[in-house]
Structures are given as C-alpha cells and as structure tokens.
Amino acid sequence: MLNKITDSLQFSNDTLQLRARRQEVLTSNIANVDTPNYKAVDFDFKSALANLGNKAAGNPSVNSSLNTSNGPTGLMQTHAGHIAGGGSTGKMSTAAMLEFRRNVNPAMDNNTVDIEKERAAFAENAVKYEAAIRSINGKISTLKSAMGQGQ
C-alpha cells in the first residue's frame, strides 16, 4: 500500500532530481564563462528521464529501501557514481551522461560558453524545477485528501 503511494511520486522525484542536476550543469557553464579551453556541457533531459523511467519500470520495488539493487544479483547503488554491478538492469543513475555543446563558435581562448544561451537555459530550467515541485505538491495534496476521506 505504502509502496503504491511512493511509486506515484517516483516520476516527479526523478524529474526533480534531473532538474537539480541540470541546474548544476548550467551553473558550471555560467561559472566558467571566462575560463580558457572550457567546453560548455549539457545533457539531453528527455533521454535521461526516459533512462530513469526504464530503470524504475524494470525494478518496480525500487522505492523500498531494502530493495534498491539492480536485480536479483545486483549490487546496491547508493551513490550516483556507483557502477552497476552484475544486475541485469544496470541502467544509468541520475548522473546523466554529459555532452559537449555543439554548433557554437569558440572564443579566441577556445571557450565554448555562450552566456546568453546558458542564462536562458538556466532560467528555463529554474521555472521547470518549480513546476516539478508544484506537481509533487499537487500529488501530495491529492493523496492527503484521499486519506482524509470518511473523516
């Protein structure tokens, strides 16, 4: 029963974690706007979220703390940097694969950060992070009102 409740929040939780991760990546780009040879990085949100979703789907009881393994013989992954060991569904964790930005004109010092683009993406991501929080809040209040039925 409790599992179903946490499962319903899992998607929002994944979204929120990935948004936080992307926020961090974009912060890295903005911070390094004047660093010679720095290459702007980002990741594909859609595929990263799909990857997380696949992982959750392949391992339905991913939420209960005793069962965070990657399958019957897998190793427990309690950190984003842990390598999936042995399990059959060794999918990527929240540390999504970063890629370099393409189609940018590097500056004279080989820096590929486009500050306007990065700040726009940063602002957009911040709004979407808030949207994810609101979605979680909405789900929680739905659950609360469901629990309050009959009182």
Binding site: Q17, Q23, I30, A31, D34, P36, Y38, E99, R119, I140
Partner: protein, 140 residues
C-alpha cells in the same frame, strides 16, 4: 544534493572574478607609476582562470566542480618611454619609463568581470530560492 554544489561553484567563480577585478584595479592604479629603468616598470597583470573538472564517467563529458585562478601573469609588454628631464625619476638621457597599461582594455576587463560576477550572484539567488521551495514540499 546537487543544488548545494551550485553554491560552491558559483561562489568559487565569484571569488575568481573578484581577483580579476583586483588585478584590474592594480593595473589602473599603476598607470602613472614611473620608473627610471625599463626593467623596473610595473607590468600589467592578468589572471588566468582554470576549471577544476569533475571526474567524468567513461564516454561522458565533464562539468566543472569549481573555478580557480590558475595563475596571475605579468604581461611582457614594452614600457612607454617618455622624454621628461624635469621628472625626478628621469635617467641620464632625461627619459622616464611608464607602464604600458591600456586604460580602455582594463575598463572593458572590469566591466566583463563585474557582469560575470553578477551572473553568478544571480545563479546563487536562484539556487537558494529553489532550495527553499524544495524544503517546503508537502507543507501546504
């Protein structure tokens, strides 16, 4: 939690930009510092930033963990040679040597540094407000 890293990262960038502003101030302040020998002249300073890169997973690009000032270099530029025999620092031929600081270049550098600083301050504010909102999940 990764949003905490944003604080560290933006903070280190602000620190680096502050050091850049300091070198600009030093260069501008020494624009008229005369010397009687060419090799004694103040040389304009420049900071070089370096990103401390995160450990990347195989096949993945790395993001930065922090920004640091790698080194401060003294630019090797020819000093300005002025003929001014009445100057107290003048040599036997009546020349004084002035640092070759380009005030325009320094002002541009100053503006760029302050804009970057502002960007990072804004990043910090956004990260803070997002974190506070995260803390209030489920409280309404």
């Amino acid at each position: 939690m990764s949003l905490f890293n944003s604080f560290k990262l933006a903070g280190s960038a602000m620190q680096a930009q502050t050091q850049r502003l300091n070198t600009v101030a030093s260069n501008l302040a020494n624009v008229e510092t005369a010397a009687s020998k060419a090799e004694d002249v103040y040389k304009p300073r420049k900071v070089i930033f370096e990103a401390a890169l995160d450990k990347a997973k195989p096949g993945s690009a790395a993001m930065a963990n922090s920004v640091e000032v790698k080194k401060v270099i003294a630019e090797d530029v020819e000093p300005r040679k002025l003929y001014d025999p009445k100057h107290p620092m003048a040599d036997e031929q009546g020349y004084v040597y002035m640092p070759n600081v380009s005030a325009v270049e320094e002002m541009v550098d100053m503006m760029a540094a302050s804009r970057s600083y502002q960007s990072n301050a804004e990043v910090m504010n956004t990260a803070k407000s997002l974190m506070l909102k995260t803390l209030s999940i489920g409280q309404n």
